[in-house]
Subunit: 472 residues, 4 copies
């Protein structure tokens, strides 16, 4: 962990009306979802029941060269995946799609989320002689699905049955020999939407920005617990689980993960972030000369703050856009100095000013402290930090990689202490009571805010909890 | 040419007080200058009179892996270079630094600019039996310098003499066995500044943002025609040519090339761009609901327009930040569609609004046309395009890669026609009379604006002219 | 298939008395076994119960760079594998070792051979919900072993039980958390031997040449059906299946696959090949001036023929030793021309001579035909081809990749016809009756000669038969 | 230096009757010459006066992928080069062909040899302002040629004039815009021959085996001092320098460098090596049971010894053929152990026998000592080493990389001492008086034997001598 938050994955699928160069569509879709995972990616294309798959470590634009795309070939259905993962050698094995060939037919699975009963399921499967090649939840899902297929009359029946065993967060797209099935867990922790393009091809994606990238129109978000079947007769919904559980879409998708140009449940992410800035302006007004955001994630909040407060918005920090995965961190320098290399101040904007500095969240506090120092060195007279999220106090078991509690600064310090630690003149976090109004989506919606308030909607095994959060 | 403008190069140099891991400093400096050239890069380090050099095609973060940096080793002096270049196999040969070992000593040259008498010089040298391995100007400079060194008593004397032969734009850093010499041509077409860090190490760079990246303080810009010598006795200036010619710093550095957090001649680039937006607001007022910029280069202008007009600033377009050099362009799709993949609209901001859309320049018009279409599809009622530069009408012979005249839309169409072609409701270019006031630098300054008005400060050979600009 | 024969694999394992840089030992061992498989390779090291594995497509010297070897780290046990495999994308997944982490402990398997009941076993496992990531037999073995471990009190008990289910050819090395187990199927189709070095470390390998490469002394070949357990108390044999089935070591290991410096069952491979040449000289004497071998596999036979016949031995053909996996085959030229690029004649040896040309086998006949033509062009007056194997008439189901029957020239033509087709003056194949005497090993031994005579020792499913051999 | 001898280069050229996929022909030619240099390679193709070049570090089969070959494109003329070079970063710059574009036309040079007046020429050129990018002689040749072209009426005139300045060893092929010129220095130190194929295309190559590889017939070796011009009117010889100097073809080409299937000056290399073995049998007879060669270079000598002595020839050592450039040498093990990994004994051949072991040369003695030990461990009762060359006592200034004198064992020890050091029972070197009769070529020929007897045919500067040979 490096003091940053990581989404685990993005998923994408296409069910086309006819065979064409479908891998290119998935390529563009994954490229639009790259912000959800930069470690590995993969595409699986189905042509006449045969699955052609390529997956590897690297960005979409690195892994999918023209030669590779051509080797995958054309098809009528396809799924793709981008993944953030832990470092190390194991990465390649854990890349998705997970493709299974079995006597009941082929299956390619892409998954965004995290099962909370993975350990229990895996132990049970192992006792029945199952063996695992990866350490990812997705292989467990593949096993459960396979077991159900052996005693089901259709793929969709198997999917619905399998959902009874899976607990936690999962947005899945599963490609079978003749159909594509999209699934969202009963709480709807992770987003998943679908759309349609001019040819009548169905597109499924984690976020609507990926539909835009392939010129498809958003139809709607899947409902929590919904199973959508895409096959030659079109799309149909199996709503067995819909509405039976409390809806709990991850609020942090709105605050940080999703792209601002995406729309979830009818609500613009950009709008939610403007709202966060507005709430901060109302709750923590300050006499200042300029509002600046930490690029890229603090920009929207800063504009929201500026509009609500009337203080002008400015560009105070420039982010180096050539930062790559292979960028070398200096051996002798600490992480703080990496901030300096990525960010530089626009002295013109800041010098002699009282500055409101908006960022999305604070994890360990080292990054924001260094950012404050950069702004201070550029001549700011005062620096008022505003954070578009409440303090992180709890782990996420639903697919977000939050630091262990001992690293989370808000677990051990008051807001005043943190303000002093980061060298700010004042510090304001978004108040928890605003979280539900943040997105401002039409209709009634409830959100998962467990990382801020500890209200988990599923049972979390005590030991699992410890493993995930208290470790190093 | 792809309808975009390209700066040719960025240069960086260090003269340290003692031997240390100097390649890492150059690495960070080049990384900050990466926007000036993404095709190739190189570093040459001098340790005890021995030059260790590595250069290759690729981004700084790709070419300089930890192993490579270690293999270059420590040293007391170093120079580095980033380069935009033409495509093709020849790229690797043209990468810089150009390193020459000669009986008069070693020499490593990095160069930003373009000689206007390259053909004449090269012909003359060839008639004397010189042979050229590359097609770059820098090799010509190396020859001229070598000829002068044979009849000079010092490296700086050779540099001053060589300058009499070189016409056109050149900002150079030349590493000799025991000193570093920085040179700016007599018109000062390309920027070059120097600074100093806490250890007393001197840093020379194309832009001040690279000094910030290595925690050095900007001392000042080199004067046009100035030669600065860095050696063990410190820094001294040889001003033989200073002030003898008309200063002609490239105005397009302010409009587009330089990073907004850089300062040239005491003037912030960001400030110049805010100014451009302000002039546009004054010259082309419009009744609108929102001002948006085309990221990243139109952002500053949009904020300037918003402030001067009172129309709110908003985020209307999101740029995919994972675009890589290897990104595949769709075989069957045209360049216009690539815009869609790189840019997506934030419907929330745009829908139902009258939009002012600010961008930095128009080359062929296809890119802006597609951007206008994206904004229109997102529901804009009106779209008023404002460009922070005058129309391109002439080639640049001083280091900027502008399309051939037959491709430049402003050479063949009126503003009204272009407005119609790109599908905008109105179109306003920055007026030429504002160019000199744009930077707003302290003191008297004059600029090269030849690409807009055709006023070249040096003799341009008729045939050369033809080669460079009328060809395809 | 390219008209050549391919062994499937080579295996190697080490059980050391203490922890050390064990991956290097496996590296040297695999390097000595590289002739048994050039497509992929892998090493798994066990250190304190943790398995570190690296495997990839490529030669041992390509895949295992110093960085990779260091990343695997030191350990006390290790297994390694080289593999010949089919072309295509699937290769990487099928690379070995297959590593399984399971509640009963870790397991890394390397395998040389081919199961004849793979389809039956896989179907059964799939009906119980097992899913397969690879198409290799080794994953089936992993499943069967895992099932048995769940109901066994020790790893060796599980191995012995699992052997009851596995039919066909398998020489295995299995690394568990605290022991290494080596297994040879009850017929002993594929070789497997072990040795010991000066430190008392045990080494297991497909061939004794790999023991030599790591300075270990050969102890002996495993018996057919033997299970050897290597753990901290030393080595012990579990002979449950030994001697219960007819021994059927692959005779083609002696003729072609094994390295001439290896010793199997106390018999030198080189000696067996000299014998083959001797039998040919006795059965097909000819009045000739020189005996030459097709390098490298015909050399030993040629020397044997020369010694028995008294006709001088000479070097008549030179093989280009830089042929690589990536060598380009000419687009417009046929396979025959590739022979010319790999082989060139020594005219000095051949011109004006009556030549005996010895090669190891004939598959499609195109390669030998082209070789004969090269010898003819170099001036041979007569060419008498002698083959150190009988004609190929049947498929191999025990781990050798022989062409489909429709491609095998001996299935469709008489020896006389083949002689004419290849342009030889006479042609003699090794007589089948000599096969059993070929190795000349001490003690009683019987061999599998099914590819020549069709006598299979295990049941071969009719459909499986068809798939493997009659297809293209 | 690693105790082995290295040839510097191989050259290849084609002048075709029409345009075709000529790079493929050069590819096959270079592939056949790979034994002359494995560090880097390059091809330059001329199509309509335009030169397309690709060169890089690596083997021919690695550097020239199908994509690269296609990118070079078709043409009517081409030259290629393989190079052995020193290690390190500089390698890529020194790769050939050296391509020069100049006002007098293009020029691509490939070179095998070594100039003995390189330092003098380079100093002179530098004093005239020339700058050098590489450290190779070939760049000096390019300069001299360019100077001469400026005052010559034709390319061939320039070549003939340039030869007056060049001293030492050089076999060159030079591609101009419309002709190919092949040159051999006046002593003829390095081989160079030409041939013609069925289409009437001319092929020039370092060795005849490369003509065979492209189905061309050898016409003849170039004469010492000969200039051959290939252009649209065919081939013509300019014999200005022919026969004016003593012929001094390198004798070590016959002993070690050239491929045994090559023919130089009408004499088979294989034959020369058989002769060497015969001389050794006559001069150093011994009572023994078997003659074996160290593969691959001692094999021919061993057969020669066997034939002359009547002692049977056998295969006693097997060389691992998968040794690659990237093969890792063990950190903790010495070079001696690398021999063990590359070579393994065939115990069957050696055990209990009195062995004659034939190798081509002894440099430092460590390699042969280790080989003797391997043979001893395999059970040899006696080992009689026979070397098909006299002792190395002097440096080579004509293109062979021989170790410095302090490393050469024969400079410091008697034959008896060396025999004892390497653990042999007897040791015999080829007697110097046989060197001239070794090749047995038709006609009168004299050879350069300076490395054995110190008789240099050109002036060697005292300081140069020191640099080259006494250094480390």
């Amino acid at each position: 962990m490096t003091g940053e938050l990581h989404e685990e994955c993005g998923v994408f699928g296409v069910f086309a009306t006819g065979e064409y160069d479908i891998a290119m569509t998935v390529y563009y879709g994954l490229y639009a979802l790259q912000h959800r995972g930069q470690e590995s990616c993969g595409i699986s294309v189905c042509r006449n029941g045969r699955f052609n798959t390529h997956k590897d470590l690297g960005l979409v634009s690195e892994v999918f060269t023209p030669n590779v795309l051509e080797s995958i070939g054309p098809g009528k259905m396809a799924v793709g995946h981008v993944r953030y993962g832990t470092t190390g050698n194991s990465g390649r094995e854990n890349a998705q799609p997970i493709v299974v060939s079995h006597s009941t037919g082929n299956m390619a699975i892409v998954h965004n989320g995290n099962l909370t009963n993975a350990n229990v399921l895996r132990s049970g499967l192992e006792l029945n002689g199952s063996i695992f090649h990866t350490t990812s939840d997705t292989e467990i899902i593949a096993y459960v699905l396979t077991h159900e297929r052996l005693r089901s009359s259709s793929a969709e029946e198997a999917v619905v049955k399998a959902m009874e065993y899976l607990e936690g967060a999962y947005s899945l797209i599963i490609m079978f020999d003749d159909k594509l099935i999209a699934v969202r867990d009963k709480h709807g922790f992770r987003p998943l939407c679908y759309g349609i393009n001019k040819n009548g091809d169905y597109i499924i994606a984690s976020e609507s920005c990926a539909l835009n990238a392939v010129s498809a129109e958003l139809v709607r978000e899947l409902l929590p617990g919904e199973v959508l079947v895409f096959d030659k007769s079109g799309v149909r919904s199996i709503r067995d689980n819909c509405g039976k559980a409390r809806e709990a879409m991850c609020i942090f998708e709105y605050i940080y993960f999703a792209r601002p140009d995406s729309v979830i449940d009818g609500c613009s992410i950009h709008h939610a972030r403007l709202n966060a800035g507005k709430f901060l302006a109302e709750d923590y007004p300050v006499d200042a000369d300029i509002v600046i955001g930490v690029p890229d994630s603090g920009t929207d909040g800063a504009i929201g703050y500026s509009r609500a407060s009337g203080i002008p918005y400015g560009i105070g920090l420039i982010k180096n856009k050539y930062i790559g995965r292979t960028f070398i961190s200096p051996g002798q320098k600490s992480r703080e100095d990496r901030v300096r290399i990525k960010l530089n101040a626009v002295r013109e904007t800041i010098e002699g000013k009282r500055v409101v500095l908006v960022d999305d969240s604070i994890v360990r506090s080292t990054t924001i402290a260094r950012t404050v120092a950069i702004v201070r060195e550029a001549g700011a007279k005062e620096i008022h930090v505003r954070i578009t999220a409440p303090p992180f106090l709890n782990p996420c078991y639903y697919g977000v990689d939050i630091d262990s509690r001992k690293m989370l600064v808000a677990c051990h310090h008051t807001v005043d202490e943190i303000c002093q630690m980061i060298g700010a003149d004042s510090l304001g976090y978004l108040k928890k009571e605003h979280l539900d109004e943040l997105p401002g989506c039409p209709g009634e919606h409830t959100y998962c805010t467990a990382c801020f308030d500890g209200n988990y909607l599923t049972h979390i095994d005590a030991e699992y909890k410890k493993d995930m959060f208290e470790g190093d």
